[in-house]
């Protein structure tokens, strides 16, 4: 790949910054190390992380949809 296409490629890739979100949230353990509030009898520590699996999936889907629109392999 020539330098030119690399540069325009990088400009198209800003949605990938969204990937920072799972890293920041997941690594901030004190944020979710608690029991309350419960959901359907499940303590916060567990339902929060489980729901964040879905959030992570949605973020990947968003980035993919955004990049796929361009129709080109990154």
């Amino acid at each position: 790949m020539s330098e030119g296409t690399e540069k325009t490629g990088r400009r198209r890739h800003w949605p990938r910054l969204l990937f920072a979100i799972p890293f920041i949230v997941v690594l901030s353990v004190p944020l979710y190390d608690r029991l309350e509030p419960e959901l359907l009898g499940i303590p916060f520590f567990y339902w929060f992380q489980l729901s964040f699996v879905l959030v992570g999936a949605v973020i990947v889907a968003i980035v993919y949809a955004f990049e796929d629109k361009d129709g080109r392999e990154p």
Binding site: V26, Q49, E73
Partner: protein
């Protein structure tokens, strides 16, 4: 001995055996070519890749060991969930590019890529050996997972007679891997996943209903186990342990040869990116499986005399089998146990193929027989995959189980040392083979040393920074050192510009 469960178990196992052999005819091609045998011809689309990678990532050991950890230790065992949240961005960002290069240049393994990129056979060999040594105990541990469910069906697993079911299972595995290569576990993974999903859905509906709802389940768990204890002053305590276990495991996962194989067998980079989103379904299921550990506590299987022998023999690994025996009717126990046992076969097959690919390319072809024909190459891989499996079985039969667990612990620390080679190799031209090799060597020794200070019983190293304690996953510390050394080396002795003629 549970007859019904055993019959269902054996029936499903025989079905899967048939699938393994028939797989040779699926997407028919010349299995005497290494990339056909070892990478399925690189033709697996989104759906098949999803099943294959799922089979890679979610092994029998995962299904037994994660709930066992939650059962025994509590909240810390849940690190598997943040770990699997992080793997998907990593998969998305890094691996499509690696796939593209591997596809263009005919690389079959990560070691191939490294050897070519850094023009160093020695570095390729180091990468290959790391992969081999990290994977072999992992194969052995799949057998442990299989043995636990065989034992739970009521068969004694002591002595050579007791190990017969395992030996038979592995003979079957060896046979269809030899004939069909990667196509076998890919096809079987479909069956395995259907069984796992059915089992898990049944488990999360039926068992809580029996136990009085999720509230009742969590109420049965001692409160100090339910969340991570707040750290003592002067330490990051369990917080840094949890976070670094998640991050370190996520960074390491796809460096494992069998995961690399799963990725390189895709038909395109888009398949990989799509799977980065779709595989999250497995993470969610893993979260539910982890909660089985708490369900086992709530169901009181630990105090139930019927399961006392199982817990004595297998320890907390018996939690999930005991829970299933306690909650499901016989025939479904057979289905659930078959799911776990088949969940051992699939990754064991892929792991042995991945090891075979590594040996064949980076040792056999690189050093022993550089001008081997395609057929010789594929044949060597088939033989090596057999040898690796035999080795794993012998390992489990002869050595105490603790050794396999300790080696697997070390394996996680070793495999992450491949990260600089892959990341730096993909994204920058500034590093030469010397820098990478130096970093690798320092990473391997420091990581192993850290584990040694804990008596190889734990991979958490309590680092003290100006009197402040940061206990964290040794793999992460050692790979940071790895990067640092590589960086320093490059500053002192910068890489020469790549010439066209690759040196050997």
């Amino acid at each position: 001995m549970d007859i019904t469960a055993t019959l269902v178990f054996v029936g499903l196992f025989l079905f899967v055996t048939w699938v393994g052999f028939v797989a040779a005819r699926w997407r028919k091609a010349d299995l005497n070519m290494l990339h056909e045998w070892g990478l399925g011809g690189r033709r697996f689309g989104t759906v098949v890749t999803w099943f294959l990678l799922g089979g890679d990532l979610y092994t029998a050991y995962t299904f037994i060991a994660v709930p066992a950890l939650v059962y025994g230790v509590g909240a810390l065992g849940f690190f598997a969930i943040p770990y699997t949240i992080l793997i998907y961005p990593i998969l998305y960002l890094v691996f499509p590019k690696l796939w593209r290069i591997a596809h263009a240049k005919g690389h079959v393994t990560a070691a191939d890529f490294v050897e070519d990129r850094f023009a160093s056979k020695g570095l390729g060999l180091a990468i290959a050996c790391t992969g081999l040594f990290a994977t072999m105990p992992y194969i052995a541990l799949q057998l442990v997972g299989m043995e636990v469910v065989i034992g739970a069906l009521g068969f004694s697993t002591e002595g050579w007679l007791g190990h017969m079911p395992l030996i038979i299972a592995f003979l079957i595995l060896a046979a269809f891997t030899y004939t069909s290569g990667l196509r076998a576990p890919a096809l079987i993974a479909i069956v395995k996943d259907l069984l796992i999903f059915v089992t898990v859905i049944a488990a999360i509906v039926i068992i809580p209903a029996k136990l009085g709802g999720y509230g009742a389940i969590f109420a049965a768990v001692p409160p100090e186990k339910l969340i991570l204890p707040k750290p003592e002053p002067g330490s990051l305590g369990q917080y840094s342990v949890y976070a670094t276990l998640a991050l370190g495991s996520a960074l390491a996962l796809f460096l494992y040869p069998h995961c690399m194989t799963g990725i390189l067998s895709s038909s395109s980079g888009s398949v990989i990116r799509r799977n980065a989103g779709l595989l999250s379904a497995y993470s969610f299921v893993l979260g539910l499986i982890a909660l089985l550990g708490y369900m086992a506590i709530a169901a009181g299987v630990g105090e139930n005399p019927a399961y006392a022998f199982g817990f004595e023999t297998y320890g907390p690994n018996f939690a999930v089998p005991a829970l299933f025996l306690d909650s499901f009717s016989s025939w479904f126990v057979g289905v659930a146990f078959a799911a776990i046992a088949i969940g051992a076969l699939v990754p064991a097959a892929i792991m042995s193929i991945a090891c075979a690919n590594l040996y064949t390319r980076s040792l056999y072809k690189a050093y022993l027989k550089p001008h081997c024909t395609d057929a010789e190459e594929a044949r060597m891989a088939k033989i090596v995959s057999l040898v690796v499996k035999v080795g794993a079985v012998l390992f489990i039969l002869v050595l105490p189980q603790e050794y396999a667990i300790q080696l697997q612990l070390l394996g996680g620390i070793w495999i992450i040392q491949l990260l600089p080679a892959i990341l730096l190799g993909l994204y920058t031209k500034s590093f030469g083979a010397g820098a990478i090799m130096a970093g690798w060597a320092v990473g391997m020794t420091s990581g192993t040393w850290m584990a040694a200070t804990q008596g190889f019983g734990s991979s958490i190293y309590p680092l003290y920074v100006f009197g402040f304690e940061i206990p964290a996953y040794a793999a992460l510390y050692s790979v940071i050192l790895n990067f640092a050394v590589a960086g320093l080396w490059t500053l002192v002795a910068p890489a020469k510009p790549q010439t066209q003629a690759a040196s050997t």
